[in-house]
């Protein structure tokens, strides 16, 4: 109980800490932040349920008024902005990522985690994000999908890094990989 709780709190803090890293800019001028990699890592390392709880805990802190989102944003405004769909999709993204890592046990860990992060952290998260954006901007789903495609390469990089980081952690701290225990 105590161990699960401190790890959930730790990953919520990791998502916050990753948001403080200044955003990288890809070759074609699209900024990427490390924060959504924290969501992928929470699912991949803690597993579906605990990963989703870590993300929900982080979201609760943002709702309470703490400026923990990348760029120092936060508060209740984070739930009504045009990009809020992505934010609201985070717990589901972590859950799906964790579920795939838990169930898909064949193959190298880095590849499985990268694949899980692409499905959970990109396909699922963008589904939420695009629906949210289409509601806020009153545009069709296809139009909104076009608007966000520029961010997909950056997120694929994050999914691959999540795979590499998870594999390295599984080697140095095998017991930490709750998604496979």
């Amino acid at each position: 109980m105590e161990r699960n709780m401190t790890r959930i709190a730790l990953f919520a803090a990791l998502i916050a800490a990753l948001g403080l890293i200044p955003s990288l800019t890809l070759a074609f001028g699209v900024p990427i932040t490390a924060q959504s990699m924290g969501v992928m890592l929470a699912g991949a390392i803690l597993g579906a349920k605990r990963g989703a709880l870590a993300v929900l805990l982080f979201m609760a802190l943002v709702a309470l008024g703490l400026p923990l989102l990348a760029g120092g944003r936060g508060g209740l405004g984070a739930f009504v902005a045009p990009t809020s769909g992505f934010f609201l999709g985070w717990p589901v993204a972590a859950f799906v990522t964790g579920l795939i890592v838990e169930r898909l046990r064949s193959g190298p860990l880095a590849v499985t985690v990268a694949l899980a992060s692409i499905i959970g952290g990109i396909v699922v998260m963008y589904a939420f994000g695009i629906v949210g954006m289409s509601m806020a901007l009153d545009k069709t789903l296809a139009e909104c999908t076009l608007l966000v495609t520029a961010f997909i390469p950056g997120d694929i990089i994050k999914a691959v890094l999540t795979g590499l980081i998870t594999q390295a952690l599984a080697r140095s701290r095998p017991a930490a990989l709750l998604s496979r225990s």
């Binding site: 109980m1 709780m5 609760a60 008024g65 703490l66 508060g75 405004g77 902005a81 045009p82 980081i165």
Partner: protein
Amino acid sequence: MISLISPVETWAHRIPAGAKLLALSALTVALFLTDRPAVLAAATLAVIALYLSAGTAFLRQGARHLRMLWPFLLLIALWHGLTGQAQAGIVIALRLLAALALANFVTMTTRLTDMIAVLTWVLSPLRRLGLPTRAVTLAIAMVLRFTPMLVENGQRLALSWRARSPRRPGWRIVVPMAALALDDADHVAEALRARGGILNDIPDGRN
């Protein structure tokens, strides 16, 4: 950590947090239900008046929090300018502005402790299902402590990396950072258990 809560004490700070949140939810739903430009313009003006009632410094601080909307407002202006549906564009832009500004207003005028009290109240039905709500408040406190600790550890690791390598640390730094953090989390868990665990003062007498 810089808080979003306004340091300027306003009349709105004295209104109960629950009432503000309830009003915010109702008004946000209303903003998304209406398509009439006149209603949305009136709502936006009312929100500006709300900020002004707390002073011009407060209004300026609130305007800073709306900066993230610029790319979207520009996009809407371009899109609707080109397609000639100016009225639809104005409706969307006003709704975005009013909804975000209203939500920020509640955040700026509500103290963290009041928000936590509302959260505990909202979660209290879960206590009957056997979920300890005390764990949630404790977890919030832990995240607040862990976050600066993680940042410090990251900076220290980056320094020792630079001492040994001419290249920048990059993503690789996340691995030792996470490994150390997991060890720290386990130490905290042991310390908690040694002090009787997180469930030890549940009123139904488990101990």
